[in-house]
Amino acid sequence: MNAGTPKSQVDTSKPHPARVYDWLLGGKDNYPVDRAVGEQLPDLGKRSARQNRAFMHRASAWLAGQGVDQFLDIGTGIPTAPNLHQIVQEINPKARVVYTDNDPIVLRHAEALLFSSAEGATDYIEADVREPKAILDHARRHLDFDRPVAVSLIALMHFIPDSDGPYDITRTLLDALAPGSHLVLSHGTFDFHKELEAQITGTYGKGGIELRFRTRDEVARFFDGLDLVEPGLVTGPEWYKDTAAPEPEENAVYAGVARVS
């Protein structure tokens, strides 16, 4: 045991989007700084988090049912059962899931808690979505990019400001995908709640988290060049396929699934 590997710096003194999200979902893996952010958000925050999670469930289950058996989840966050691999491996036990997060604590949680079915596989990459090439390089070790892969960016891109090139990032990821692959994306919006913009963006901002919720047109750009799957780009509870319609509920999330042709 020589030369320790260099350690990523972990700062738990500031709120972290993944832990705020965990708090919004009723989880226990958060610290007082994260709860402080969550408590200052309107009720809409909790509702949107729950709706967003439910969309991920429906979309992932539908894709697994369509025969997609490779999943690349970027910005995984704190594990919250049922997690993506549990959903898709229940449908196809052989499904392979690669989880990616840029936070070492979050990623270790994923490693310890997201264990795969015996036939399938889960793997974990510590990488930032701002380095899509690094993510792809690593993911190629576990997934076959000559076959369809579902890439999920769930409630992630609204933490990527315009200056970081969110559309270029998505483009780089999509360009690596074979036909039949899918993009699963959800994204915060103030389209329905202009009056809450200052409060919500301000609350995250005070905690040092830059929030960039986008309009419908801006979110639609992420799907440029892809075939949006019915029902298209809609709010979280409006996206469903072969399940009963979810209870309509006010929320601040756009959701969509699109196919790479």
Partner: protein, 288 residues
Amino acid sequence: MSEPRSAPTIGQIVLSRQLLALREKAGLTRDQAGQLLRVTAATVRRMEMAEVALKVPYLQILLPAYDVPGDEIDVFLRLADEANKPGWWQRFHDVLPDWFSGYVSLEEAAVTIRCYEPHFVPGLLQTEEYARQILTRGALGQQMSDPTRIDRQVALRLERQSLLTSTDAPVFWAVLDETVLRRHVGSPDVMRAQVDRLLEASELPNVTLQIAEFAAGHHPGTYSPFVLFRFGIPEVRDMVYIEYLTGALYLDEDSEVSEHMEAMDRMVAHAESASRTRQLLSDFRATL
């Protein structure tokens, strides 16, 4: 009025907290609840803190007064009966210190057990021989001269271990300081068998082991061992367990749990990943 008893079971803790929540929801003070039972407010407090067992006749008075519907009262009473039953570990009452039986019941009830072990292999992963070495050398005073007592303690430890492979097995996630390997407990054979056991356990899907190497420097938990328990009930807080020479602490205050969780989280980020830890264990085994 309150008979002495060992540490509460998690079931008792859960129900006690629930009783407190119901009273507060009903808008009654402890004094008022006490008047209903003809006991003092302090007795009500002890019930709500799980310091005494929940007596069914008391619950039959309190729950209706708290406006709990009849069918829910039945459920509560049934749970209270269950919670008051001693767990399997009570058979080992002669060797279990009072402060430890609480630990075993928490271990049984937990969905996640995270621990930091700076000195020894965690009890749940010890081989029989390793456990015997630790318990023999660790025994103080009277225990030293009583080999049957050691035998029973070893037996208890081994019985606890079936937890990790049971159908409802909890997630067990441990950070082991490099000291755990470096400090030899018993002969090289004992250590080799113990390292094999760790390697084998690390293959279980619900077990994650991470070694904090000396070379990586100190980390926020470099102080003392502790365990973080999580239970599958949303309302029940995580609990911290800290053991010392003559006793143990159970902490469930938000601020204390948060700080331990933060320390644990930073330790898992600092320590080697599960896959590299397996490599380190194999490498270490080769040096024995």
